[in-house]
Symmetry: C4
Subunit: 217 residues, 4 copies
């Protein structure tokens, strides 16, 4: 994708956050790396979802500096930049405060892998990242360090909310949508009584199949 295509994709994907109920007001942000350049595009800070246009997206470098755009970048830009800089395989990053994922983050408890759908997409439990304040690279570092020990493309930053990654922005949004779905389902299941996790061998078989067979070639 060139810059213009990424701009249009980001408008579409921010609307998906609204559609699936993951964000309110101006919260939440999606970014995508520009292939072959040390740049990514991201939502501007504090702009209403109704007012997002391809032109309003801003271009940043991998230190989080604004390179192109009339608006200030998302206040979470430093975290996105850190992830792109330290994870060359990552092409998209999403941050939301979606309700159930954030509730697990508030308690600091990982989501156990209790559903086949979780095994498919996350390959195991969804881990908790450290409590980290905005303003330096501690959020980005927390994301990268936590995810390097898990197959999960999602991390629940303690007392804050989820970040998800993917090969592009669409894959990271998909992970954010599925995360909230499994966070809600496992929470509700546990409210009714004990929930057993799926066994490790089955998780491995499901994860392998989903990552390699699901969808269209």
């Amino acid at each position: 994708m060139n810059h213009q295509q990424i701009r249009e994709e980001l408008v579409h994907l921010h609307r998906e956050l609204i559609r699936w109920g993951l964000v309110i007001w101006t919260a939440g942000n999606v970014s995508q790396r520009v292939a072959g350049e040390d740049l990514f595009l991201i939502k501007p800070s504090g702009v209403s979802y109704d007012d997002l246009t391809p032109e309003s997206m801003v271009v940043c470098d991998l230190d989080g500096n604004l390179v192109e755009g009339d608006l200030s970048p998302s206040s979470d830009t430093a975290a996105h930049a850190y992830v792109y800089k330290h994870r060359p395989d990552v092409g998209g990053v999403v941050h939301t405060h979606s309700t159930y994922a954030t509730a697990w983050a508030a308690r600091g408890v990982p989501i156990p892998c209790a559903l086949t759908m979780m095994a498919d997409e996350f390959g195991g439990e969804i881990p908790i990242g450290p409590f980290a304040l905005i303003g330096d690279d501690s959020i980005g570092r927390g994301i990268v360090e936590t995810l390097q020990n898990h197959r999960s493309p999602a991390v629940l930053m303690r007392s804050h909310g989820p970040f998800t990654i993917g090969k592009n922005a669409k894959a990271a949004v998909k992970a954010a949508v599925m995360l909230e779905d499994v966070a809600r389902t496992v929470h509700i299941a546990q409210q009714g009584g004990p929930v057993e996790p799926v066994d490790k061998a089955s998780i491995d078989r499901l994860y392998d199949r989903y990552q390699n067979v699901y969808g269209q070639n």
Copy 2:
């Protein structure tokens, strides 16, 4: 219905899954048997609900082999095929990961028949099927074996999610919608305190009446 009518019906019914909040992203699938042929039509794998068209639906035989269509069939096709092959009375099958039904499935606890609406549609409790991995006929066999002991058109596959059946795809979608509704209501009721099931004689009277009198002739 001929093939073309089924294709259009399936587009409509997949939209009903979205409308009633039973599925996210590309998850979930609806199929319908072709009367008088050993064939059924089903959603292609991993295609967005926005992009589903009558033409995108694929035709499979009762062993789950692709017979007609440019796209790969749903990854749950083998389970649908098994049901059609072993239950000649079934004309439609639906699979979702709807939240509350899946939460009961995660715990492995049947939903007790505690509402007159459950007696009407399900004729008793909604049973749990075995834990089964995708990839062979174990999901299909689990559905068929579990449902042969119940009047319920819905089964909650352990740690996975619900499958529903019906005389056609519309009836199976109706069962999926009502399943999620009663799964949610009974869960919430139990969170507040003990819930008594409806007595067996009343269930029988309600089920008989609803199956034979409700609706238009």
Copy 3:
């Protein structure tokens, strides 16, 4: 309102049931008495909300017999008829299986009056009616007998769901919408810890004010 105006009002009010999330599929029904005639209009049985038109509504007498219309009346017609026959002050009746109200009905526990908004509209707790099977006048009798001891326009029929009444169909729909809202809020409040009811003297002051001062003259 004449018959035609009531037909159009009923189409609009059934859409309100969908809009506020009180019903799924073809469940739920609204009726309105014809002033000056021993008749009421009600939804036909098992018809999709999308397909409801003014012409599809059917006219019944106060014994629940079909007087005019091509379709079978709602399967709850006998209950509506009983209420109109025995409560001449009632001009509208609504029945839903809305989630939280039905969850209280499943437990058989009245909703305590713990919110000023409940005092306003319901004037006290929302009572539980008896378990009653469809098919004779026992549901209608249960509604009328329970409500004669309460200011509440809503009754939760045991293991079944809510019925609401009003001076016309719109008022009964308003009561159904507010019922689900307070049923949800008080349930959630109780999940978090003890909830104290509003004292009787305050309930009386709030109820009196709301019934006489709120809205436009």
Copy 4:
């Protein structure tokens, strides 16, 4: 903003209450002060959200008297007026019965500051105001007295529901939307187990940054 601009803004902002699920039927109201005049505009009482137009908004003075308009003002007008009279810094007031915020109000328990997003917007816990009946200035006084001890722009009036304030109506609506979001998230988190609040020093740093850096200049 002149009167006409405020009228249009209020129509838009009432629609935001519906969009974010904070109100049902005719409940809830938004008002905005007229800069440089001892007046504010507010929703008329008991009017459907579908029927709200710029012209239907009414103008009141800071004692809550109707100054201009054909309709009766919102039944909560006295509370809004009291706030404007005693808090010259406040330019907008919102009242809803949004579900989770009202559930905390029903229990009379403040929402602990357990999320970075709460620290950002509310600067600490969200406090409980006194139980107060409509009809005199006790609701307005309860709001003002409770908020003077907190950075929070939201107060949960006991057994009643939330009021939020802001520099204008839009800021107060934003606070109402974020309030319901954090009320829901913290409630759900606590249902799953113990939730630790964010430490005071981190709250102060987050609050300071969000109030001064977030968004566009």
